[in-house]
C-alpha cells in the first residue's frame, strides 16, 4: 500500500517536472508595470503577464528572470537594462499623468495639492525607486512642496496599485497614482488634480529581453502594442498618445 503511494508520487513528480520544462510554445512572458494591469490583457489576452513595480521587475530580469518583454513605466529602467545588454533598445509606447487620490469620504479634507502639507495627513506614496514614486518626488520638487508634504508620508509602497489600494480602502488620506489607476476604482476615490505645469515627463518604455528564446514573437507583441488598435486601446483606458501632439 505504501509502495503503491510511493510509485504514484514519483509519477506525479515526473509529470510536474515535465510540464515545468516544456514551455507552452507561443505564450510569451510579459513583465509589465502595475499600471498596465487592466489594459495589456485587453490588447493581447494570449500572453502570460507579471505585473509589479517596474524597478522590481527590472531587478528580477537582471537576476535572470525568464521574461520575453519588459514594459516599464519609465524609460530610465529599460535604458539601464539596454546599457547592460539585457534588453533591446527601448521605445516609448505610451504616456501618462499623475493625480492625487483621496478616499470618497475624504477624512482629511484634501481639496488641492497644497492641502497635503496640512498637519496629520496620512499620505501614501510609492518608494523612490518605483517610477511613480520618483515622478511624485519630481512633482513635489516642481511645486516646491517637498519638505512640507514628504513629512506626512506614512508608508512607501512597492507599486502604484498598492498605493491605490490603501487609499481606496480608506486607510490612507491621500496617495499619488497615475490618472489611469484612479479610473479603475472611481467609485471609491475622488481625484485631486496635479497642475499641468508641475507634471513630470512620464514616458513608458518597452523592449525585448535579451535572454528571450522567443524574440520574434516578442517583437510581434511590441508591434501589436504600437499598432493603431493597440494604441486606441491604451487611449480608451486613459493613457496619453505616445507622441505629444504639437499644440499650435
Amino acid at each position: 500500500m505504501l509502495r503503491c503511494a510511493f510509485v504514484v508520487l514519483s509519477i506525479v513528480l515526473g509529470v510536474a517536472v515535465g510540464q515545468a520544462s516544456a514551455r507552452p510554445s507561443a505564450q510569451l512572458t510579459v513583465y509589465a508595470a502595475a499600471s498596465l494591469t487592466d489594459v495589456f490583457p485587453k490588447i493581447d489576452s494570449g500572453q502570460r503577464y507579471q505585473f509589479g513595480g517596474s524597478n522590481t521587475l527590472a531587478a528580477q530580469i537582471t537576476q535572470g528572470a525568464p521574461a520575453d518583454v519588459f514594459a516599464s513605466a519609465n524609460m530610465t529602467l529599460p535604458t539601464q537594462l539596454f546599457a547592460k545588454g539585457l534588453c533591446s533598445k527601448p521605445v516609448v509606447f505610451t504616456r501618462n499623468t499623475l493625480v492625487v487620490v483621496v478616499p470618497k469620504a475624504n477624512p482629511a479634507s484634501i481639496h488641492g495639492i497644497y492641502d497635503l502639507a496640512k498637519a496629520g495627513v496620512k499620505l501614501v506614496v510609492a518608494g523612490p525607486g518605483v517610477p511613480v514614486g520618483s515622478y511624485t518626488l519630481q512633482i513635489l520638487k516642481n511645486m516646491n512642496l517637498s519638505g512640507r508634504v514628504l513629512k506626512n508620508v506614512v508608508s512607501r509602497e512597492t507599486d502604484v496599485r498598492e498605493v491605490l489600494a490603501k487609499v481606496a480602502l480608506g486607510e490612507a488620506d491621500a496617495g499619488f497614482v497615475y490618472s489611469t489607476d484612479a479610473k479603475t476604482v472611481s467609485g471609491k476615490v475622488t481625484i485631486v488634480k496635479v497642475p499641468a505645469w508641475a507634471q513630470p515627463k512620464v514616458q513608458y518604455g518597452i523592449c525585448v529581453v535579451s535572454r528571450s528564446t522567443d524574440k520574434a514573437d516578442a517583437q510581434a507583441f511590441i508591434k501589436r502594442v504600437l499598432s493603431k488598435a493597440g494604441q486606441a486601446r491604451m487611449l480608451q483606458y486613459g493613457f496619453l498618445p505616445r507622441v505629444k501632439r504639437k499644440t499650435r
Binding site: 522590481t56 531587478a59 477624512p107 506614512v154 508608508s155 512607501r156 512597492t158 490603501k166 480608506g170 486607510e171
Partner: protein, 276 residues
C-alpha cells in the same frame, strides 16, 4: 544487490535534500565579500530595520507570553463547551496566508474596520504605526507558541500538581513552582518558534502597517525594498536574519539540554520529547 541499491538511493535522496536546504543559506554569505556585508551593517536602512524588527518582535513575544500562557494552560487542563472551537481559533493564524491575516487586521482595526470608529473615538489610529507592526507580528506568531504550550502542559504529570496541592500549596504556587518548571522545555521551544516566525513576518505587516523606514520597516520589508536598489544591503540583512536564526536554535539547544536529566536526550528541539 537490492539492499545496496536501496541504501544508495536513500543516501542520494538525503544528500540532495541537505544540499537543497544548505545552498540558499551558504549562498547568502558567499555571494559577496564579507567586508561588503559588514560595511552594510552601518547602512542606516539596515540599522533602522534591525531596530524596528527587534523592538516589535520583543514586545510581541512579551504579549504572547503573558496572554498565551494562561490561555494554553486553560485549554490544556480544562474541557468545556466550545473547547474545540477555541483550539481551532488558536490554530487558525497558523494556516491563514499572511496576506489574508493582513486584510483581516485591516478589516478589524483599520480606520473603516469593525473597531475603527471605537478606536477613533479614543483617539487611537493603528494602521501605519509601529504598534500595528507589533499586532501583526503577535497575530501570526501566537499560535506557534500557544500550540506548543498546550502540548507542554498536557504532557505534565497531573499527579505531581495534585501532590503539590495535597502538601498545602495554593493553585498559584503550584502553577509557578511545579507545573511551569515541568513544562519549561516546551514553552521555551514554542517561544523560539514564535519569535522566529514573528521576525520573518512580511505579508500582514506590509498590509496593515505599511512600510516606512525607522517606523514600520522591519528587516523583511527592508529586504524587499532594497532588493532592486542595493543588493548588498539585502544580502547583509538576510545574513543578519540567518545568524539570528542560528543563534536562536543554538541557544535553544543549550537551554533545553543543559541542566537536564537523562530523560531528555532528544536530538530534536521541536519534537514530542521537547516538553520533557
Amino acid at each position: 544487490m537490492q539492499r545496496a541499491l536501496l541504501s544508495w538511493l536513500v543516501g542520494a535522496a538525503a544528500l540532495v535534500t541537505l544540499a537543497f536546504l544548505a545552498l540558499p543559506v551558504v549562498a547568502i554569505f558567499a555571494h559577496t565579500t564579507p567586508r561588503h556585508l559588514v560595511e552594510q551593517l552601518s547602512n542606516p536602512v539596515v540599522r533602522d530595520a534591525f531596530l524596528v524588527s527587534l523592538k516589535t518582535s520583543l514586545i510581541a513575544q512579551a504579549l504572547i507570553l503573558l496572554l498565551g500562557t494562561p490561555t494554553a494552560f486553560l485549554l490544556a487542563t480544562r474541557r468545556f463547551r466550545g473547547h474545540a472551537v477555541a483550539v481551532t481559533l488558536v490554530e487558525l493564524p497558523l494556516v491563514l496566508p499572511p496576506a489574508v491575516a493582513g486584510i483581516g487586521l485591516l478589516a478589524a482595526f483599520g480606520r473603516l474596520g469593525l473597531l475603527g470608529s471605537t478606536f477613533d473615538a479614543l483617539g487611537i489610529t493603528l494602521p501605519f504605526t509601529q504598534t500595528a507592526v507589533t499586532i501583526a507580528v503577535a497575530y501570526v506568531a501566537s499560535p506557534l507558541y500557544i500550540r506548543q504550550a498546550i502540548a507542554a502542559f498536557e504532557a505534565t504529570d497531573p499527579t505531581l500538581a495534585a501532590a503539590s496541592r495535597t502538601l498545602g500549596a495554593g493553585p498559584t504556587r503550584t502553577f509557578f513552582r511545579v507545573v511551569l518548571p515541568l513544562a519549561r522545555g516546551g514553552l521555551i521551544a514554542g517561544l523560539a518558534l514564535s519569535f522566529a516566525r514573528g521576525l520573518g513576518e512580511f505579508g500582514a505587516t506590509i498590509m496593515f502597517a505599511g512600510s516606512l523606514q525607522r517606523v514600520t520597516q522591519t528587516l523583511p520589508l527592508a529586504i524587499y525594498a532594497e532588493f532592486d536598489r542595493n543588493f548588498d544591503a539585502t544580502l547583509a540583512m538576510s545574513g543578519v536574519l540567518v545568524l539570528v536564526s542560528v543563534l536562536l536554535l543554538l541557544g535553544l539547544r543549550i537551554g533545553l539540554t543543559w541542566p537536564r536529566s537523562a530523560s531528555n536526550r532528544s536530538l530534536y528541539l521541536f519534537g514530542p520529547s521537547a516538553s520533557g
